[in-house]
């Protein structure tokens, strides 16, 4: 089963855990209906759509409201520290979260005690804190974009905000940044780098580049990275190996974007609606 950890952008949303379903443009957990706009709700919606297509159980999610002051995340860090060891997820995906190194390290200490360690995927704030704490290699997959890859490649930056200009510069090519991230042990075992071309890589280098269809207008749309993380997490939880799941997820995400005929003003749910059609197109050719 897939477990997902993330945040909801509402200050008073309670700490909650349970299976999540998708009803139109809302994810539903317990009695809570959350609009799928961007961030973790978009990631979950993409995962739900993918798992449904793969005929797998809906994901089990740990969610808390947080608007950036970290109050909700502190509660969820504590919940994970106390209870994660009692779970039996095959795959665990971490998403938007307040980076806090001390609390994060307590959580991964508990995960390392689990009898069967799940496949660990991190994006957004959880990816930041994993690199910040020197624990990137504890994870199996990171899903950075170009700016975040530059952060992983900068061994001195504790947050993307501090990435040094000579690394962030556009002249730096993705393959060089991937190499540099691995040289300093700041990448997970696998990377799925999202951008105008998507790259699947590991410590030995680039494994696959996915560049079609080309949909330039996807970059400014909030949530397209979140949907990619949701799709790849669901495919890994469905039994695909990480490399295959990453390449297929990149194709599905691009194709769903293509089918949505987006402009830079398109909102993410229009793309999520196209995921089943894109999955059908990509996986029927496997």
């Amino acid at each position: 089963m897939l477990g997902i950890v993330g945040t909801i952008p509402e200050e008073n949303f309670p700490l909650i855990s349970g299976p999540v379903s998708l009803e139109d443009d809302y994810i539903v957990i317990g009695n809570n209906h959350i609009n799928v706009n961007r961030g973790t709700p978009a990631m979950i919606a993409a995962a739900v759509a993918t798992l449904k297509y793969m005929d797998k159980p809906t994901p089990f999610c740990y969610l808390v409201g947080d608007i950036g002051n970290g109050k909700g995340c502190k509660l969820l860090y504590k919940e994970l520290e106390e209870n994660i060891i009692n779970t039996s997820f095959d795959t665990l995906a971490f998403h938007y979260f307040q980076p806090e190194v001390t609390l994060f390290k307590k959580v991964i200490a508990e995960i390392s005690k689990m009898p069967k360690r799940p496949t660990l995927i991190a994006d957004a704030g959880f990816m930041y804190v994993a690199k910040m704490g020197g624990d990137a290699r504890f994870f199996d997959l990171f899903t950075p974009d170009a700016g975040e890859l530059a952060y992983l490649a900068d061994e001195k930056a504790p947050h993307p905000f501090y990435t040094r200009g000579f690394i962030l510069h556009e002249d730096n090519q993705v393959p060089d940044l991937i190499k540099r991230a691995y040289q300093h042990n700041n990448a997970a075992s696998h990377l799925l780098v999202k951008g105008s071309k998507d790259y699947v890589a590991d410590k030995d280098g680039i494994i696959e580049i996915i560049e079609n269809p080309i949909v330039e207008t996807l970059e400014p749309i909030g949530g397209t990275g979140d949907t990619l993380t949701g799709i790849v997490s669901a495919l890994v939880a469905s039994g695909l190996d990480i490399k295959t799941a990453s390449a297929k997820a990149a194709m599905v995400n691009r194709l769903a974007g293509f089918y949505a005929k987006p402009t830079p003003a398109t909102q993410i749910y229009d793309i999520i609606k196209q995921i089943p059609r894109a999955l059908n197109e990509v996986l029927k050719n496997k």
């Binding site: 947080d66 608007i67 970290g70 980076p99 975040e148 930056a157």
Partner: protein, 178 residues
């Protein structure tokens, strides 16, 4: 060679001489303190904290040590209390200063570090906010998207994290260009 080293070393000391940092409980307080101190004309800079006091999503304010008393008093008057005041004795990390601009016909996208903002140049409406990983990013997007640049709340006023701060840098650039 020795002289070169000596020169560089003395420049380093001179760069930090007389500077201190104000450490706060969270980034929200840093942003509030920065707004207050800058509006009062103090020569301060927002920087990355040194490794020994770094906990996660952090910023500190670098300031002239000689002004410590008046600065802490000014902050105290608005109920902002630094956790620590520490002299600077090493290089601090500079915030991101390299922006990427990309045009999609009538739309302009600006990226600062990991944050992107996209505006319709014909209407000056913010059409998308993307990137980032801290939990206020989806919140900021919700508050800013579909609003005119003059009417949207600014990340520095409602954000809390370094991602919000990066978005503010991108937002400032968009305002400059539109």
């Amino acid at each position: 060679m020795f002289n070169l080293f000596k020169k560089k070393n003395s420049e380093f000391i001179s760069d930090n001489h007389g500077r201190g940092i104000l450490v706060f409980e969270n980034t929200t307080q840093v942003i509030k303190a920065e707004n207050i101190l800058k509006s009062n004309g103090w020569e301060i800079k927002v920087m990355g904290p040194p490794p020994n006091i770094r906990s996660g999503c952090d910023l500190v304010i670098e300031f002239p040590l000689i002004e410590e008393l008046s600065i802490t008093r000014a902050l105290s008057e608005v109920n902002i209390h630094p956790l620590q005041v520490v002299p600077v004795n090493e290089d601090l990390l500079e915030p991101v200063n390299l922006l990427h601009e990309k045009e999609y016909s009538k739309y302009l996208m600006i990226r600062a570090a990991n944050m992107k903002i996209t505006v319709d140049r014909e209407t000056n409406i913010i059409v998308n906010v993307s990137g980032g990983g801290c939990p206020d990013v989806p919140y900021l997007a919700e508050q800013m998207v579909d609003k005119h640049l003059n009417e949207a709340p600014q990340p520095k006023d409602i954000g809390h994290t370094l991602c919000a701060y990066a978005l503010q840098i991108a937002y400032d650039r968009v305002v400059e260009l539109c």
